[in-house]
């Protein structure tokens, strides 16, 4: 059921069509000072996806590579697990979506995301968190996300995650040009967006060494102790309270008795 996108970095020519399509489909503002492709491209509240240009070493030369960046729509999203108002949720079909009507604006999601994706509308009085939504309406209608539909080179492929993983593995094993790593297969417990590349991921600006244990696991392993701690500690305190009160009472009585005797 879960939909995914496979990005083949070797096929991307950096045209930026995907980023333009994203802006148009989601009616996002244009800002000349914040380009959506090139060396300075950075995701922001109005740039849900950008195509970043990198000059990276490959076999003793320097080559140009383009990386499309956006929310990776984690299988077990840290951002959603961090949100205390359920403003961010993962839908069954894969997209991790944001519901502004519930958002309190605490920005914990921004801190929790292992890929620094959620961005904030700092210039607004009541800012929203912004990030790629993976076009959930389109997916519901059986269409691919706007960016995928716009890609002229076939660098973006949309489909079932399991099938795309198979395809990615096939590419890696049949073509020795590729790095033997599918970015997103295990990162942060697995993501809906998958990347394959012929150059080192770290050099392309990907965060490497991300834990493969889903991030919500970490907090959940602690949170699940809460009821036990609350009840146990409460019981201990009640016991201590009763015991110490009784002891004081007895102490008081004996004092009185002594006084009476005198």
């Amino acid at each position: 059921m879960a939909k995914s996108v496979l990005v083949d970095i070797t096929k991307c020519v950096g045209c930026g069509s995907c980023a333009v399509a994203c802006k148009l489909w989601n009616s996002l503002k244009w800002d000349q000072s914040k380009p959506v492709n090139g060396e300075k491209a950075e995701t922001s509240a109005e740039n849900w996806t950008v195509v970043r240009l990198h000059q990276v070493p490959k076999e003793r030369e320097k080559v140009w590579r383009f990386t499309k960046q956006q929310c990776l729509h984690c299988e077990e999203p840290a951002c959603a697990s961090a949100c205390f108002a359920r403003a961010i949720v993962k839908t069954e079909q894969g997209p991790v979506i944001y519901r502004a009507s519930l958002c309190v604006g605490c920005r914990y999601c921004m801190l929790a995301c292992p890929f620094e994706i959620p961005k904030y509308e700092w210039d607004k009085v009541f800012p929203q968190v912004h990030k790629c939504q993976m076009c959930p309406e389109r997916i519901e209608n059986g269409e691919s996300p706007a960016c995928v539909a716009a890609c002229p080179t076939g660098a973006l492929k949309y489909g079932e995650r399991s099938l795309l993983l198979q395809e990615a593995r096939r590419c890696l094993s049949s073509n020795s040009n590729y790095i033997k790593h599918i970015y997103g297969e295990k990162e942060a417990g697995g993501t809906s967006w998958l990347y394959i590349s012929d150059t080192d991921f770290a050099a392309l600006g990907f965060r490497t060494g991300v834990t493969s244990r889903p991030l919500p696991d970490y907090t959940y392993s602690i949170l699940k102790l809460t009821p036990a701690v609350a009840l146990g500690w409460g019981a201990v305190l009640t016991g201590l309270y009763a015991y110490n009160r009784r002891r004081k009472e007895i102490a008081g009585e004996t004092k009185e008795k002594k006084r009476e005797k005198r």
């Binding site: 922001s44 840290a78 697990s81 961090a82 949100c83 205390f84 108002a85 359920r86 403003a87 009507s101 519930l102 958002c103 309190v104 604006g105 605490c106 920005r107 914990y108 921004m110 801190l111 929790a112 292992p114 620094e116 961005k119 904030y120 509308e121 700092w122 210039d123 607004k124 009085v125 009541f126 800012p127 929203q128 060494g209 991300v210 834990t211 991030l215 919500p216 970490y218 907090t219 959940y220 392993s221 602690i222 949170l223 809460t226 701690v229 609350a230 500690w233 409460g234 305190l237 009640t238 201590l240 309270y241 110490n244 009160r245 002891r247 004081k248």
Partner: protein, 378 residues
């Protein structure tokens, strides 16, 4: 008991009043014009001074309430009685300020009620939010017992009756959320510098909030001693400091064990900024205070007690700042320095807290446990 309200104006208090008023004006500005125009926060640094200091540190420093409540009302260690009311009052004020700071920091404050109806129970913040809200309410009710000695006296019996329940719930809740504040940073795996990131963060936060409690009480009583001529016997404070010291010792051992267990002990002497800040935190905030605490000659003097307390308080502040800023900066990159408004509001909140404390101390029966009129030095 006389029913008159009085509040003595002094130059210091006038300054505090001005600072608080300035903060009110700036807070309104922030609520009207948004976070972006009032703060220096940005996408790399979504959390700044208000969360780091006003909330994370504030909650820890306000922890004196639950630790003294435990010692006095549950364990019934009577010699701590003279300080219990003042400790719990400071805690209440502290929490109210935290709630204020938190409210200012949320971007969509008209939605503040959302987590009450839309339960993100898998979030650590959810636990923090609920516990802190309810605990503030409980503390307000606990204060009811004191308040009804003067106003609304007919309620006094009622409050007296519900106190035991309040005490117990009022210890369980802070235990939960003091540790949850640490859990907040557990999700920063691979981001928060390994000297601070640990699965034990919740325990460390809990323990440090516990041992900083007595230190805050000593600082307060010292100040109160100056302002109101209320003297607490040094022996009482000494015992309190010893409680604090024992917890600190366990904390230190756990910290060291944890570093070795995670094979990160080498980082302490790595000679980088993080290493130095960690050393500062441990030396100034833990090791030196421990030496003072376990050297009877030092502990028994007023100066020694005060030095101990100031160091412990500073240590906890440094610790929280290290978690929020020092430990995160390598990963986050970019830069953040609080804006004038952020500073002014934080300072103003504290000033308002001090004024509220002074007002209540002078009008209610806080500094002595016996319900009798205490003459205040005018």
């Amino acid at each position: 008991m006389q029913k008159k309200w009085h509040f003595r104006m002094t130059p210091v208090r006038a300054v505090l009043l001005c600072l608080s008023l300035l903060a009110v004006v700036l807070a309104v500005y922030r609520l009207v014009f948004g976070l972006g125009s009032a703060t220096n926060l940005n996408d790399r640094w979504p959390w700044g001074l208000w969360i780091g200091f006003d909330v994370l540190t504030g909650v820890a420093l306000a922890g004196g309430g639950y630790s003294t409540c435990l010692l006095v009302h549950v364990l019934r260690i009577n010699k701590f009685k003279p300080i219990v009311r003042s400790a719990m009052l400071t805690s209440l004020i502290g929490y109210l300020l935290v709630m204020g700071g938190l409210f200012l920091d949320i971007g969509r404050w008209f939605n503040f009620w959302a987590p009450f109806v839309s339960w993100g129970y898998h979030s650590v913040l959810f636990e923090v939010f609920w516990c802190v809200s309810i605990y503030t309410l409980i503390q307000t009710l606990e204060f009811g017992e004191i308040a009804t000695e003067k106003v609304g006296r007919s309620w006094h019996g009622f409050f007296k009756k519900i106190m035991p329940v309040l005490f117990i719930v009022g210890i369980v809740l802070p235990t939960l959320h003091q540790s949850s504040l640490g859990s907040l940073y557990v999700i920063e795996v691979g981001k928060l510098y390994p000297l601070w990131w640990s699965m034990l963060l919740p325990l460390f936060f809990l323990m440090s909030s516990f041992f900083v409690g007595p230190a805050m009480v000593v600082v307060e009583t010292t100040l109160a001693g100056k302002a109101h001529g209320h003297q607490v016997e040094t022996s009482v404070l000494q015992s309190l400091v010893k409680v604090s010291g024992s917890v600190m010792l366990v904390y230190l051992i756990l910290k060291i064990a944890d570093l070795f267990y995670r094979h990160k002990a080498g980082l302490v002497l790595a000679g980088n900024f993080e290493g130095y800040m960690f050393l500062l935190e441990m030396l100034a905030g833990i090791i030196i205070p421990l030496i003072i605490c376990f050297t009877p000659g030092l502990r028994s003097t007023k100066g020694g007690l005060l030095a101990f307390s100031l160091l412990v308080v500073a240590g906890v502040i440094i610790n929280r700042m290290n978690v929020v800023f020092t430990g995160m900066s390598r990963y986050m990159g970019g830069s953040y320095f609080p804006s004038f408004i952020e500073w002014a509001v934080s300072i103003g909140l504290i000033s308002a807290g001090v004024l509220a404390y002074l007002f209540i101390v002078e009008n209610f029966n806080i500094l002595s446990e016996e319900p009798r009129v205490k003459e205040i030095a005018h």
